[in-house]
Structures are given as structure tokens and as C-alpha cells.
Amino acid sequence: MARLRSTLPYDPRTDRIADASWLGAVGRGTIRWVLDVDELLHTFSDAIASLWTPGIAARATVRRVITTQIMYTGVQALSLVSVIAFLLGASIIIQTNLMGSADGELLGKVLVAVVLRELAPLVTAIVIAGRSGTAMATELGNMKVNSEVLALSSLGIDPPRFIVLPRLVASIVSVLVLMIYFSVVAILGAFVIAQLTAAATWGSLYSGVSRGVMPFDLGLFLLKGIGLGAIVGWLCCHYGLQVKSSPTEVPQQASRAVVMSLLCGVVYSTFVTALFYWLVGPPIH
């Protein structure tokens, strides 16, 4: 069993775990995994719990930070999302044209199924994770390295409330709003290309889109937007705060944050789609 030692005289060669049996390795790995999951859950629960922490002035300060974060995460990503959404909408029409002639109404329904239900939430989350998630994780990692998080604590400022909560909220709001924006621009792009290539008329496409949208789409849209936004904000903050004291850990944790956000985002999106399909059946018919 590993034994606690003095720090002096410190010899790094002795700083290794003596027990090298496979059972010990499995045990340590399991304990480490459980502790990691516990920390991950605490990052989220502490941020949510801080909503109920008293302090009127603190709330006002946090609101200002949220506004700033929404500016960085949402507003500044508008141009990038515009370009991606327009081109994706156009690509779907071009690909459908390549498959042969399709009526406008079917194209509209395809747009609803592909763009509104799948691409808008996922691509928006990917853009936010790639653009702002890396920035969040890197910023928080550097804050840890420079003792800024400790400094906040020393001033009586709750790190979950001042650091994690604003980024979590900003991420959720940004993904939700950008999803709506993405959908509008993608459908607009599809309409424009459909007109230019004479694939379908405005009227038939509009009819297809309006018939394709179901009441449950609102729930699906909200669930995906809130969930994906929370996943990106939560994981990027968590991995950023996992940096200990070395600057070399910052890019490692930033990379891990984005990879995990994307992986969890895709899994979550697929799970929600499957859940809705199971609940309401195939809506296209």
C-alpha cells in the first residue's frame, strides 16, 4: 500500500507507487475514475447550487459576467454560424438534386428532418465547442496556473458562481439562440439555391417545411439546445479547472474539453432523437 512520505528530502525517483500488482492497478484506476466522475458532477451541481446563494450585489456582478460571456460565445459567433448554415442548407438542396428530381414539398420535409432536428443543434454545438469551448477551457486553465481562482476564493468570491455559472448559462443561451438562427439561415440558403437551380418553387418548399414541422419539434428543439449548451459549458469549464499548476496542462485539458464535449454532444443528440422517435413515432408519414 502506498505510504505517505515527507516532502523533504524530495527525490522524484522515489515518487512512484510501490504496489505494482494488476489488482492494485485496477483498484487505483477505479478509484481515480470514481473521483473524476464525482468532481465532474460537483462542477455542475456547485454551479447550479450557487443560484440559491444569497447576495444581491453578487447576483448583479454575475449577471454582468453572463452578459459578457453571451457576447463572446453567442453574438461573436453569428457570422461563422451564418456562413456554415447557408452553405449547409444549399448543400442539402444540391445533393437532393443530384439524386434525381424531387418535389418541393418533399424537399421541405427533408429540410425539417435534417436541418431543424439534427444539423442545427449539433452543428451549433460543434461551432460553440470549437470556438468558445477551447477559449473557456484555456482561460480557466490559465486562471488556475496564475492562482487567479485561489485569488477569487480569497476575496470571498465563489468560483462556481463567478466562473462556472456564467459560462454555463451563456453556453445554453448561445446554443439555443444560434440554433434558431442557424435553422432560419439554412432554410433561407436552401430556398435561394432551390430557386437558382430551379429545383423547387418557393411555394412548394414553404408548404413542405410548414407541413414537416410537428408540435413535438419545439420540445425536441428545446431539449437538444439546452442539453447541448449545458454539455459544452459544463465540460469545458470542468476540464479547464482540472489544470493544476503547469502551463503545459492547459492545451491538454483544452483539447480534452473539446473532444469530450463533441463526443458527449453527439451521444446526447442521438439519444434525444431516438427518445422522441420512440415517443411519437415516425412523423414524416
Binding site: A2, R3, L4, R5, S6, T7, L8, P9, Y10, D15, I17, H42, D46, S50, T53, P54, G55, I56, A57, A58, T61, E139, N142, M143, N146, S147, E148, L150, A151, L152, S153, S154, L155, G156, I157, D158, P159, P160, R161, F162
Partner: protein
Amino acid sequence: MRTSSIHSTRSPKRRYLSVRNGPFEHGSASEELAETLGPLHNLRLVEPPVSDVDSPDQGLWLERATFAYNELWVLRETDLHVPRGADLLVTGHNGVGKSTFLFWCAGLLPATSGRVLLDGRVPHVSTPSDLVRGGVRRGVLFDSGGLLSNLSALNNVTLALRYHADVFGIDEQEIHRRARDALTELRVAPTDFHALPAHLSLGVRKRVSLARALVLEPNFVFFDDPDAGLDAPTRALVYKLLERFRDDPKITMVVTSNSRPLIERMAVPIVELSHGHLLKKSGSQNPNSRGPSY
């Protein structure tokens, strides 16, 4: 097994600074070092000011507290009481964990076991605002300043005031007045008020950090190597401020340093952190200072 203690008496009330370390490992380097340094003797403090309110809960308490990084000890089971108005200077070799010990005493890091108490309150790492609402205000000086890199010098100083404005009962005007006064007192040039920390020298960053600690009117002060890397005028300014905190009967101060000028000038009880134990070290013998005598 060895148990050690430091006691100091000061009138009119008997007050004490006590340290009790846990057992040394038999045959370890710690034990050898303890043998070399000898047992800890009673320590008398010379008449420091006594605060109006004197409760046994007040001040810094470590109760059977230990702190370890994975398998490495920073402090083995130790009881320590630094009463309100008393001060402690912690020395030790590089890498022994002085800064970690300081941050841990300040409640910024969770104890591995045991408890750290500030005026009878247990600091929680995720909700430090509880302490401020409970009347505990900490001023911590970090080795490199610890300023928030995306805020200007002025905003670094106003941040905590703004965050706790309702607790302190101050408005925006008062926040700015206090922050500007503190920065001016610490000789930060007005042209630096709106500069980001990255554009400030280490000396100015430390002064801004001190101003940030000062505006909170702290009752606990934790300074990590306060005079490291400073020029002579800035060092003199820092010493003056440390003496002010030392002489304030409402402020409990813990400083980590190996700087001889600082140790001599502060003339406060000194302990050495070594092998995870707090050991008494010979204190300053400056005849002009109000300090410990053995």
C-alpha cells in the same frame, strides 16, 4: 513519538500561540531533523496589543489538521492556534510547501483531514462568500500577485467590494473611492489604474494585490513571500504595511518568507515547516522591535 508545543503569555489576558505536531516517524529523516533542532520550548510574546473582544474561537485554528498532495505530506497532524491579533512567520526550504501551507491556512485548499477554522468558521472551498457574510475577511497576497488577468488594476481592487457591496453596505461611489485611496496609498500611479496586470511590473502587481487585500479591511492576512523580487522602495512600502497589520490588534497575520530583512523587521514568532512538521525556529532579536523573546 514526540509531541511539541509553543506557548506565549501576554497580559492582561493569558493568550497563547500553540503548536502541537503529530508523531514523527521512527527512524525517519524527520526524526533526525527534530533531534538536531531540539524540542520546542515555551515562547513568550512581549506585550502585543490586545483586542477589545477576546474569544477563544477567534483567530486561526488548526485542529488535528493534515494536508497532503497525493502521497506527499505538506503537514502532518498538527494543532495550531494563532489568536486574533497575533502573528506567525513560517520559514522553510524551497519546495517544502510553505505557500501551500499558507493557502491551506487561509482556507483556500481543503484539509486532507482535521479542520481549519477562521474565527470559529470552517471555510468551504466552493462557497467562500459564506465567510464574508459571517464577518471573516481574508487578505491574501500571492507570490506573483494573483491578479485577474482580464481586469484592470482598478477593477481588480473593486471586484470584491462590488461583489460584497450589500454585505459591506457601500455604494458604487464608495467602492471607487476606497479602491482609488488604497491604490494611491500603495503608490500605484494613476496611469496604471486602467492597465491590465500583464502590462504592469511585478512590483506594481504586488502593490495592486496589496491594495486589493487592504480595501476589504481584512481580519486575517496571509502573505506569501511578500518582499520577493521587489526593489528597495517597494520593499520598504511592503514592510511598512506588514508592520501596520502586525500592530493591528484585530488582524491575525501569517507570513511565509525566508527573507532575513523581513524576518528581522517583523519580529514575530517564527516556525519552520520541515518534513511535514512545524518546528520552532530562533526568532528575530531586533532590540527595537516588539517581538518574541525566548
